[in-house]
C-alpha cells in the first residue's frame, strides 16, 4: 500500500459486540471524534461511546403529522363548502364531524412518510457506492462481525499513529480503507 493514495480511514474488525463496545470507548477516551462503528444489529450502547448526536427526526415527523391533519380538514372543507356546495341528505355544507376520520388518516399518513423518508435521507441513503465497500471483509458487517472505523478527516488522525492505536485494541483484522470516490 502506497502512502500517496488518498485514504478514507482505518478499519478494525472485532468478532464480538462486547469487544467493539470496549474498543469504541477506548477510542473515544483517546480523543477520536470522527469515527463510526458498523454492526449487524443495533447496539444502543455504542451511541454515547461514539458520541452520536440525538436526531431531530421526531420534530420533523410532528410537523408532517400536523400538515396531514390540516389537509384532512381543509380538503373536504374547500370541496364541499366553497368549490362545489351540494345539499347532501339535508346535512350542512360544513359537516365537519364527517371529516374526522379523514383528518386522522392523513395525519398518520403524512407523519409515517415523514419518518421513513426523513430517516433514509438523513442517513444519506441511498448510497450504493461507499469507500468501505472496497474492503472485502466489510461484507461481514451485516452478518456476525463488528467494525470500528476511524476516519481520515478526524483532526487527531495520523496514518501510522492511529493504526498503531487500533492494533493496540487487538482486533481480528485491521485494514486501510482507500478513498476511491474521487
Amino acid at each position: 500500500m502506497s502512502t500517496q493514495r488518498p485514504i478514507y480511514g482505518l478499519l478494525a474488525e472485532f468478532d464480538a459486540p462486547e469487544k467493539i463496545l470496549a474498543a469504541a470507548e477506548l477510542a473515544r477516551d483517546a480523543g477520536y471524534k470522527n469515527m463510526d462503528a458498523f454492526t449487524p444489529f443495533p447496539m444502543e450502547e455504542l451511541t454515547d461511546a461514539l458520541g452520536v448526536k440525538h436526531s431531530k427526526l421526531s420534530l420533523f415527523v410532528l410537523c408532517c403529522g400536523i400538515a396531514g391533519g390540516l389537509t384532512g380538514f381543509f380538503l373536504p372543507y374547500f370541496a364541499s363548502v366553497y368549490d362545489y356546495p351540494l345539499n347532501i341528505g339535508g346535512r350542512p355544507l360544513n359537516s365537519w364531524p364527517h371529516w374526522i376520520p379523514i383528518m386522522f388518516e392523513l395525519t398518520v399518513l403524512f407523519a409515517a412518510i415523514g419518518a421513513v423518508v426523513g430517516m433514509i435521507f438523513r442517513n444519506g441513503l441511498p448510497r450504493p457506492v461507499h469507500p468501505l465497500f472496497n474492503v472485502d471483509r466489510f461484507e461481514l458487517a451485516t452478518r456476525d462481525k463488528f467494525f470500528l472505523c476511524i476516519e481520515a478527516i478526524d483532526p487527531k488522525f495520523d496514518r501510522t499513529e492511529t493504526e498503531k492505536f487500533l492494533r493496540g485494541l487487538n482486533p481480528s483484522h485491521c485494514t486501510v480503507v482507500d478513498d476511491v470516490e474521487k
Binding site: I88, G90, R91
Partner: protein, 994 residues
C-alpha cells in the same frame, strides 16, 4: 318454417320493394324471416326475452350483423300518416321540436273503447294518457291500456303477408282471393264465413252489413274467449231483451258485489274505480263514505277494498244471491241452504241494503251464470235502485250475440264442410277456443282461410293467408264505449310495417279496391246525419276524442216474472271446482308478448311471468302441496299440469287458473310461458267447472314472485281504522308512531323557499290495480329484466305496490300500498354515496346523476324503503330500433352498473317550469302531474308544491290521516300516506268476533 331455408334474394328484394321504407329490418335473415334469424334475435334481445343470456351468443350474433345490411338509420325518420290528424285541443297545434303533442284516440278491449290521449314526440307515440273528456277514462287509464304502447313497437309483430307460412305480398293475396270471391258471389256467399271479435265500431258494422248484403247467405260470427254471454243471457231472462246495465257507484251508499271484480276488470272498471273512490274519499265528511260487501271466489282487488268480504266457491255465489233475494222477499225465489255463518252475513247485508233503498247497488260478476244476473236484476228492482244507481241502455255493440253459441255454430258448419272461405279478423281461436270444439281440426276442413292479426300466432300458423294487422295507433277506426260514447280513432304514425286494418281488408272483400282506412272511415261518417258541416265535425271530434251526443239514451225495462229457468241449477258441486278467469295482465292471452304486462306483478298475488293454480291454504294442506309444486289437473278428459300458488282468501275446494298463458306462437316474450288454461275449458260451461281432479306430480316449477313476505310483522306500515274511531280520534294515524319523530336535529335544516314538491297517496282509495306501475315504466324508459332476474329480486319498476295480509290465513284482509321514492329531506341514501351521484336539488327532489354513479349500491342498502333499483346487467335494450322510437326522449336510458329510482317525473316538472317561465308566471297547482298520478283510476295520488298552502297536496298533508312511512327514522319523507278507513257493519263485526 321448421328447417333452415336458403336465403332467397329475389324474395327479399321483392319484400323490400313492397315496403315503403318503414320496415326496420336488420339483416337478410330477418327479411327472409328464417328460423335462424329468430334464434339470433332471441339471443340478441335477452332483455325482452324471458331468460337473460350472456354475451357468448351475442358474439355469434355480431358475426351475422357484420354480414347484414343494417338500416339502423331508418329509426330516425318517422313517417307521419298521409292524412291530416288533429292534435288534442289543449295543446299547441304547431309541432315544436322537443315539445310533445297529444292526440285523442281510443284503445279497445273486448270491443269497448277507452278514450286516451296518446303523446307524440316528433311523430313517435311515446306515452298513453287517459282522455279527461271521455266518460270511461276521465283522464285515467289501466295497466293494459298503458302497456298497449309496447305492442306497437314489439319487434315480434307480424310484418309481412304470409301464404302457407312463406312470404307473400298484399297484391298476391288480393289476386288469390278474387276467384274464390267470384264463386261465393254465385253461391250468394253460402260458403263464406266471417269471424270477428266483439264489434262496436259503427264503420266496421256498416262494412259487415254491406258485405252480408253482397253475400246474403254468408254468416258473421263473433267470438272472444272473455265475453259477456252470461250477462247478456241474464238480461234476457230478467227483461226479455238484451240491455246494457250501468252502475253508478258514486251514488251508492251500500254496494254488494257477488263475485264481481268491478274495480279491476270489465269495460267500465276505470270509470267504476273513479266513481267508487269518490265515495271512499274522506275529508271530514265521513257520512259520504260508502260500504262495500263482497262475496267472491277468486281474491280480487275489489275484494281487497271490501268492508266485509266473504269467500265462497264460484258455484255457491248463486245461493248467496238467492239468499239475498229471498231475504228481500222477491217472489219465486226460495231461500237456498247456506251455512249458518253465511246466513247471518246475508241477513245483515239485506238489512243494510233495505236501509238504503234507491241508494244501493248489487252487482254480479261477468263470469257468474245467467240466472245470477237475472236474480241481481230482480234484487236491484226490489231495492228500487233502477233509474237511480242502476240504469239501462241498449247494447252499444253492432250486433250483440251469444258468442259461445256463435262460435259453436261456426265450428259445426266448418266440420260439415259447408265453409269454403273463412275470414278471421283478429281472433286467435286455434289458441283460445274451448278445447272440446276442436277448432283447429275444423279449420283444416276449410279450403281458404284468411287471418288478419297483429302476430303470426297459433291461428296464423294454420291459415292459408296471414295478413299483418295494423296496431290501433297506426290505423283509422272508430269504436264505442260502454255507454255508447263513440270515438273516432286516429293513427299517430303511419304503419311501421306493411300492415292493413280490418276496414281495409273488408273493403277489399266488398270489391272497393285500394282504399285506405281513412277513406273508409270518412265515407261512413259523411253519410251520417251530422249537426255540423263535416269538416268542422271532423276537426272538433278528432280534437275532443268523442263524437258528440252518441251516449245511448237510458231506457226503462220491465222485470219479467221468475220462470223455471230461474230455478236453481242442479249442478253437483262435489269435489274440486275449477275457476277460469281472464288474467289481470295478459287478459285472454292477446298481450302475452307484452313484456311490461308479463313483468307487472299481478295485483293480488304479486306473481310475474306465469299463471298458477291458485288454491286456499286449507285446500293446499288437504292436497299436501306447497307453492311451486306441480299438480296435474283433470277435467273430464282434458288434462294440464300447473304449479300451485297458495292464495289466502281463496275459497276451499276450489282452484283458480288464469287464461292467457301457455301460448306457443306468441313471440319471444310470451311463447312457452305458463300453462294453457283453455285446454280445460269447455263450451257452455261458464267460468266455473265442477269435478276437477288434482294429482300431485312431485315435480317443481319456479314462480317469480316479487313479494315473498306478506305479513306486516305488527309494524305500523299501512295504518287503518274504522270510520267511528276516526271520528272519535282523527289523528289516530300519527298516534300509531312507535317512537315519535324527533323534531330537533343536530344539524341546521336546509330551507326550501321556492317550490317544494311533495306527494300524498290515499290508501283509502288505492285499489292496487297497478296502472301506475306500467305508466311509470312507460314514462321513464324502465326496462324489463325477465323471469330469471325477477326471481333473483332484480325487477326494475320504480313503483312497488306492496300487498299485505292481515287477520286469519283463510279469510285475511288485504292491504295495498304503493311505494315510490319518498324523496326524504334527510335522505339516508345521499349521505353514503361516495361520489355524490345522488343529491338534493333546490326544490327538495332527491335526484340521481346517472353519469356520476359508479354503482356501489350503498345507497340502496341504506334506503329504509328499498325503493332504489340497480342495473345489475345491461337490462335496457339499446339495439332494437323500434324500442328506440318508443322511448321518452326526456328521460335518460340507463345502462349497466347504474342505480336508478323514482324521480317524481322531474322531466314533467321541467316542462312545466319552462312553460311557466315563458309565460312569466309560477307553476300552477295541478300543472305538474306525475305519470303514476295521471294514470291512477281512483285518483289516490296527489302531487304538487307543499310550500303553497293553497295547493291540493298541502291541504292533504295537513289532513289528520296524513302520516309518514317510517317517519320515526327522521328521514322527513316528502311522500306521505293518508291512513286507510273501513266502514264496517257492526252486526257483521260482532259475528266475525263471535
Amino acid at each position: 318454417m321448421d328447417e333452415k331455408q336458403p336465403l332467397d334474394i329475389a324474395t327479399i328484394r321483392q319484400r323490400l320493394s313492397g315496403s315503403n321504407g318503414q320496415q326496420y329490418w336488420r339483416s337478410l335473415e330477418q327479411v327472409a324471416e328464417t328460423e335462424e334469424f329468430r334464434e339470433f334475435l332471441h339471443r340478441e334481445f335477452p332483455r325482452e326475452a324471458s331468460v337473460w343470456e350472456d354475451g357468448v351468443s351475442r358474439r355469434s350474433f355480431m358475426k351475422i350483423m357484420g354480414a347484414s345490411l343494417s338500416l339502423a338509420g331508418l329509426s330516425a325518420c318517422v313517417k307521419a300518416p298521409d292524412e291530416k290528424i288533429i292534435p288534442y285541443v289543449k295543446q299547441p297545434e304547431i309541432m315544436v321540436p322537443g315539445r310533445p303533442l297529444s292526440f285523442a284516440t281510443a284503445f279497445t278491449l273486448g270491443g269497448y273503447a277507452t278514450g286516451i290521449l296518446a303523446t307524440s314526440n316528433m311523430g313517435r307515440p311515446t306515452k298513453i294518457e287517459g282522455n279527461p273528456d271521455h266518460p270511461y277514462s276521465l283522464g285515467s287509464t289501466d295497466a293494459i291500456t298503458q302497456a298497449s304502447l309496447l305492442t306497437l313497437y314489439d319487434p315480434d309483430r307480424s310484418q309481412v303477408v304470409l301464404n302457407k307460412g312463406s312470404i307473400s305480398t298484399w297484391g298476391k293475396f288480393l289476386d288469390a282471393i278474387q276467384l274464390p270471391l267470384e264463386i261465393q258471389r254465385s253461391l250468394k256467399g253460402s260458403g263464406l264465413r266471417i269471424l270477428t271479435e266483439t264489434i262496436t265500431s259503427p264503420t266496421l258494422g256498416a262494412q259487415l252489413k254491406a258485405l252480408l248484403e253482397m253475400f246474403p247467405q254468408a254468416k258473421w260470427h263473433q267470438y272472444e274467449p272473455v265475453n259477456l254471454d252470461e250477462v247478456r243471457e241474464g238480461s234476457m231472462m230478467a227483461f226479455g231483451e238484451n240491455v246494457q246495465t250501468h252502475y253508478h257507484f258514486d251514488m251508492a251508499d251500500v254496494v254488494l258485489s257477488l263475485d264481481a271484480d268491478f274495480l279491476g276488470t270489465g269495460a267500465a272498471h276505470v270509470r267504476h274505480s273513479r266513481d267508487f273512490a269518490s265515495r271512499r274519499r274522506v275529508e271530514g265528511r265521513s257520512a259520504l263514505m260508502n260500504r262495500l260487501y263482497v262475496a267472491e271466489s277468486t281474491p280480487s282487488i275489489t275484494g281487497g277494498m271490501a268492508d266485509h268480504r266473504m269467500r265462497a266457491k264460484a258455484s255457491h255465489v248463486e245461493s248467496i244471491a238467492r239468499a239475498v233475494a229471498a231475504g228481500l222477499g222477491i217472489a219465486g225465489i226460495n231461500a237456498p241452504s247456506i251455512t249458518d255463518k253465511q246466513a247471518k252475513w246475508v241477513s245483515a247485508v239485506v238489512r243494510d241494503l233495505q236501509k238504503h233503498k234507491g241508494a244501493s247497488i248489487v252487482v254480479a260478476g261477468d263470469g257468474q251464470p245467467a240466472v245470477v244476473h237475472a236474480i241481481v236484476h230482480a234484487i236491484n228492482h226490489a231495492l228500487e235502485n233502477n233509474g237511480e244507481t242502476v240504469t239501462y241502455t241498449d247494447s252499444p255493440e253492432v250486433s250483440s250475440v251469444n258468442q259461445s253459441e256463435s262460435l259453436q255454430s261456426l265450428v259445426k258448419d266448418m266440420q260439415s264442410g259447408s265453409v269454403d272461405m273463412l275470414i278471421m279478423l283478429g281472433n286467435n281461436p286455434v289458441y283460445d277456443a274451448p278445447a272440446d270444439l276442436k277448432f283447429e281440426e275444423a279449420l283444416s276442413k276449410v279450403k281458404l282461410n284468411v287471418r288478419l292479426g297483429l302476430y303470426e300466432d297459433e291461428t296464423s300458423a294454420k291459415c292459408t293467408w296471414h295478413i299483418p294487422e295494423s296496431h290501433y295507433l297506426e290505423a283509422w277506426s272508430d269504436a264505442r264505449a260502454f255507454d255508447g260514447t263513440t270515438t273516432i280513432m286516429q293513427p299517430l304514425i303511419a304503419p311501421l310495417y306493411n300492415t292493413k286494418s280490418a276496414h281495409e281488408l273488408l273493403d277489399e272483400l266488398t270489391g272497393k279496391s285500394g282504399r285506405k282506412g281513412y277513406e273508409v272511415i270518412t265515407e261512413y261518417w259523411k253519410n251520417q246525419k251530422l249537426s255540423l258541416p263535416f269538416d268542422e265535425f271532423w276537426r272538433t271530434t278528432l280534437n275532443n276524442g268523442v263524437v258528440a251526443d252518441t251516449v245511448l239514451p237510458t231506457k226503462s225495462v220491465a222485470l219479467q216474472a221468475a220462470t223455471d229457468a230461474w230455478k236453481p241449477s242442479t249442478t253437483s258441486d262435489q269435489g274440486m271446482e275449477l275457476i277460469l278467469r281472464p288474467d289481470p295482465n295478459v287478459w285472454d292471452g292477446r298481450f302475452a308478448n307484452n313484456g311490461w304486462l308479463q313483468e307487472l306483478p299481478k295485483p293480488t298475488t304479486k306473481l310475474t311471468w306465469d299463471n298458477a293454480a291458485h288454491i286456499s291454504p286449507a285446500t293446499a294442506e288437504k292436497l299436501g302441496v306447497h307453492n311451486e309444486d306441480v299438480v296435474e289437473l283433470k277435467c273430464d278428459g282434458s288434462m294440464v299440469e300447473a304449479p300451485v300458488w297458495i292464495s289466502p282468501g281463496h275459497p276451499d275446494d276450489s282452484m283458480t287458473l288464469h287464461l292467457g298463458y301457455g301460448r306457443t306462437h306468441a313471440g319471444r316474450v310470451g311463447s312457452g310461458v305458463g300453462v294453457n288454461a283453455y285446454l280445460l275449458r269447455s263450451s257452455g260451461s261458464g267460468c266455473a267447472r265442477q269435478g276437477l281432479e288434482v294429482r300431485k306430480t312431485g315435480k317443481q316449477y319456479t314462480l317469480a314472485c316479487t313479494q315473498d313476505h306478506f305479513s306486516m310483522e305488527g309494524r305500523e306500515i299501512v295504518r287503518q281504522s274504522t270510520v267511528e274511531t276516526f271520528l272519535a280520534d282523527p289523528t289516530f294515524a300519527q298516534k300509531l308512531e312507535h317512537n315519535p319523530t324527533p323534531d330537533q336535529s343536530l344539524y341546521p335544516q336546509h330551507e326550501y323557499d321556492g317550490y317544494a314538491w311533495g306527494m300524498t297517496i290515499d290508501l283509502n282509495s288505492c285499489t292496487g290495480c297497478s296502472a301506475c306501475v306500467v305508466a311509470c315504466q312507460s314514462e321513464n324508459n324502465i326496462p324489463i329484466v325477465g323471469k330469471e332476474q325477477v326471481h333473483r329480486g332484480r325487477e326494475m319498476q320504480w313503483i312497488r305496490i306492496d300487498r299485505y295480509f292481515e287477520g286469519s290465513l283463510d279469510e285475511p284482509e288485504m292491504h295495498t300500498q304503493p311505494v315510490t321514492c319518498m324523496h326524504c329531506e334527510n335522505a339516508p341514501c345521499e349521505v353514503v354515496c361516495p361520489v355524490a351521484a345522488t343529491t338534493h336539488d333546490s326544490e327538495g327532489l332527491n335526484v340521481m346523476t346517472y353519469n356520476r354513479c359508479v354503482g356501489t349500491r350503498y345507497c340502496a342498502n341504506n334506503c329504509p324503503y328499498k325503493v332504489r333499483r340497480f342495473n345489475f346487467l345491461q337490462f335496457s335494450d339499446v339495439e332494437t330500433e323500434t324500442y328506440k322510437m318508443m322511448r321518452n326522449p326526456d328521460v335518460t336510458v340507463r345502462n349497466r352498473g347504474v342505480m336508478e329510482k323514482c324521480t317524481y317525473c322531474v322531466q314533467r316538472i321541467s316542462h312545466a317550469r319552462i312553460d311557466a317561465k315563458t309565460e312569466g308566471r309560477s307553476i300552477r297547482d295541478g300543472e305538474v302531474t306525475t305519470a303514476c298520478q295521471s294514470a291512477c283510476p281512483s285518483q289516490a295520488i296527489t302531487f304538487g308544491d307543499i310550500n303553497d298552502e293553497k295547493s291540493k297536496v298541502a291541504k292533504l298533508k295537513s289532513d289528520p290521516r296524513n302520516y309518514g312511512l317510517l317517519a320515526e327514522l327522521n328521514t322527513k319523507p316528502r311522500t306521505s300516506y293518508l291512513a286507510k278507513l273501513k266502514n264496517p257493519n257492526p252486526e257483521i263485526e260482532h259475528l266475525e268476533v263471535g
